[in-house]
Amino acid sequence: GESVGLHLPTLSVQEGDNSIINCAYSNSASDYFIWYKQESGKGPQFIIDIRSNMDKRQGQRVTVLLNKTVKHLSLQIAATQPGDSAVYFCAERIQGSQGNLIFGKGTKLSVKP
């Protein structure tokens, strides 16, 4: 029979546009957050991280925003390129958990040329 897989949220953007990928995290005691990018057939790749004492952090073409009030994390990608097409995961670390990360289900970003 047909297998039922994980239906990932999908975001489709035009090349050159900005992308915003959202993530709702689960635990108010989480003190560290990471965004990972996973291309087909590869392992997750670190993009950017942020600690809970910050609300914004910028990298090269990427910005992470943290809203602890509503437990929301977002990843903004400026001038999205075809190479940005991948599944993006947010991960949280609960304070005191000895480094154990809890991963979200992921969002698939598709960039149209």
Binding site: L6, I34, K42, F46, F89, R93, G99, L101, K105
Partner: protein, 113 residues
């Protein structure tokens, strides 16, 4: 270019056979994680080690799975006996005690027939 390596990259085996997956963490990293990724469940933490000592293996089926670190440069994940439901991509990740970031290997794609 320091990176986590995993072998084999692909493994096809028959139900009941033993499977051994190997991981070489980034030199100097003292924390090693094993994850399993499937379409149904996403990324699941199986076990992790710090300074070669197991910290948490609660995510791992104890009756058939075992994880070890014979030395600081090698982590192994064994399944005996393997079952079709073990088919997945198994990732190893490593990190250092000074940062929470986990760096992933390319994964071992396991298919149990």
């Amino acid at each position: 270019d320091a990176r986590v390596t995993q072998t084999p990259r692909d493994k096809v085996t028959e139900m009941g056979q033993e499977v051994t997956m190997r991981c070489q963490p980034i030199l100097g990293h003292n924390t090693v994680f094993w994850y399993r990724q499937t379409m149904m469940q996403g990324l699941e933490l199986l076990a992790y080690f710090r300074n070669r000592a197991p910290l948490d293996d609660s995510g791992m089926p104890k009756d058939r799975f075992s994880a070890e670190m014979p030395d600081a440069t090698l982590a192994t994940l064994k399944i005996q006996p393997s079952e079709p439901r073990d088919s997945a991509v198994y990732f190893c990740a490593s990190g250092s005690g000074s940062t929470e970031t986990q760096y992933f290997g390319p994964g071992t794609r396991l298919l149990v027939l």
